[in-house]
């Protein structure tokens, strides 16, 4: 992060394992912006987090000169607009291309993630098989989306990583960890050649490689999560 841009006071409230936080970390890294990172314990949220995001009480929250911005995709657009001359643009310039990017970012966040989340939360082989079956059509759609958006280039954003790359790419380590545990291969190179090569390329981008958590650590965390999920709860 050498030669970081003078950004005013910038703080990021996050949690190391959250894909939504990873999106913002990578974006800030790409933009070369300096900030104070505050790791939140999601079981014991700080006053700062609760004050900054009273509606959802979630991470990530970007606080710029004391003003909070919440919701990861909103933060990405904010970063693009607040520092327009810094680093590569996260959204294209043309209104139609912007609409296409927003459409797919929304699709990843809503349709894909809702579906994949069921796989993520599956506890039995049966549940996993069912959930996996339901995610595949979305991956098929995203494979087509990749062809449409990339236009033969490396990323959804074209030559550079953009908002859709960040939206989907932030899940990659998690996708692989869940795959490993379940014995599945969601971004199968044979069925989804576009996405499979895109995934490798995305993970190799400097800003991404620096910010992605380590797979082993995520696996450990995931196993702990599944244990908690299976434990009989008083009420949840």
């Amino acid at each position: 992060m050498a030669g970081g841009e003078e950004a005013g006071k910038l703080q990021l409230l996050g949690a190391w394992m959250s894909p939504f936080v990873i999106r913002v970390k990578v974006a800030l890294q790409m933009k070369g912006l300096r900030y104070e990172y505050i790791e939140e314990d999601l079981q014991r949220k700080s006053d700062l987090l609760l004050r900054s995001n009273p509606v959802h009480k979630k991470v990530p929250v970007l606080i710029h000169d004391g003003r909070p911005v919440c919701e990861s995709l909103v933060v990405l657009e904010y970063v693009d607009e607040a520092w327009p001359k810094t680093g590569p643009p996260l959204l294209p310039a043309d209104p139609y291309d912007r609409a296409t990017a927003r459409f797919w970012a929304t699709y990843v966040n809503n349709t894909f993630f809702q579906s994949w989340r069921t796989l993520f939360r599956s506890m039995t082989a049966e549940q996993r098989a069912e959930a996996f079956k339901n995610v595949v059509p979305q991956v098929e759609t995203l494979e087509r989306a990749f062809k449409e958006c990339s236009k033969g280039k490396d990323f959804f954003g074209g030559d550079e990583v953009g908002i859709v790359d960040l939206a989907l790419g932030s899940f990659l380590v998690w996708i692989r960890v869940v795959d490993e545990l379940a014995g599945t291969n969601l971004l199968d190179g044979e069925k989804f050649p576009g996405l499979a090569t895109w995934a490798e390329r995305f993970l190799a981008v400097d800003a991404v490689a620096v910010m992605m958590p380590e797979a082993g650590r995520i696996m450990e965390h995931y196993k702990g999560f599944l244990v908690k999920l299976a434990a009989p709860a008083g009420c949840s």
């Binding site: 911005v69 909103v74 609409a99 459409f103």
Partner: protein, 237 residues
């Protein structure tokens, strides 16, 4: 920018998501061709324009499709930046706040309101209703914060959140009429209640909003259909 701009909206008159787009187009003063879809028999044009979701609204601008109501609304604001008022402030933080609340309307209000209608059990439905009122209370606070003493979420003039929430007004008003319970309660959510009145009086809203009686009739028919389907399903077990 008007010359050569062909705007066609594929929609269905009762859909709040379609109403959002109509509101945005009307507030910007843009004329468009309204194509009414039969959602039980979707046109070739709709299916080919929105192959992913096959839903309305779809806006076709010179033949190129844009899908997802709030994506369309932002597109309209950006592609026609010189025409009519801006739906978003030029200040990045205000824009972020507007986008946050627009997302909130979809994630919390729409979701809970749909549940209050379509919940599988009476318990589900009443939970949906409870969450809907909680979301409205939160939006009351949002309106106070965003309006800065003016009349709209967008401040002096309508903005992104006014369009997002405004799209739902006809359904919510019709539901109020049918249930006898005020949704925009002037006691609990005075700012929202005043906002709803104000919005409804705007020319753009009058053009976009479906007629209230027609809306009530439509919802009653839908509920009857749902009840019949549920009864049929129950008797098959």
């Amino acid at each position: 920018m008007a010359g050569g701009d062909d705007l066609k909206l594929l929609g269905a008159w009762p859909s709040p998501f379609v109403v959002r787009v109509k509101l945005a187009l009307s507030f910007k003063g843009l004329s468009f061709e309204n194509v009414e879809e039969d959602l039980g028999n979707k046109s070739e044009l709709l299916v080919s324009s929105n192959p992913v979701q096959k839903k309305v609204p779809v806006l076709l601008h010179n033949g190129k499709p844009i899908c997802e109501s709030m994506v369309i609304v932002q597109y309209i604001d950006e592609a026609f930046a010189g025409t009519g008022p801006s739906l978003l402030s030029s200040d990045p933080h205000e824009r972020a706040v507007a986008r946050f609340w627009a997302a909130y309307v979809d994630d919390k209000l729409v979701t809970s309101w749909v549940q209050s209608f379509r919940g599988k059990t009476e318990e589900d439905k009443s939970e949906g209703t409870k969450q809907m009122f909680a979301a409205l209370q939160t939006l009351e606070g949002a309106l106070r914060e965003c309006s800065k003493g003016e009349g709209y979420f967008g401040g002096e003039s309508v903005g992104l959140v006014d369009v997002s929430l405004g799209g739902l007004l006809s359904w919510l008003n019709a539901t109020e009429e049918m249930s006898g319970t005020k949704i925009f309660d002037p006691v609990k959510t005075p700012l929202l209640a005043a906002w709803a009145e104000r919005l409804r009086e705007l020319d753009g809203a009058k053009l976009a909003f479906p007629d209230k009686d027609r809306m009530v009739e439509f919802i009653q028919k839908r509920q009857a259909q749902a009840a019949a389907a549920a009864a049929a399903a129950a008797s098959e077990k």
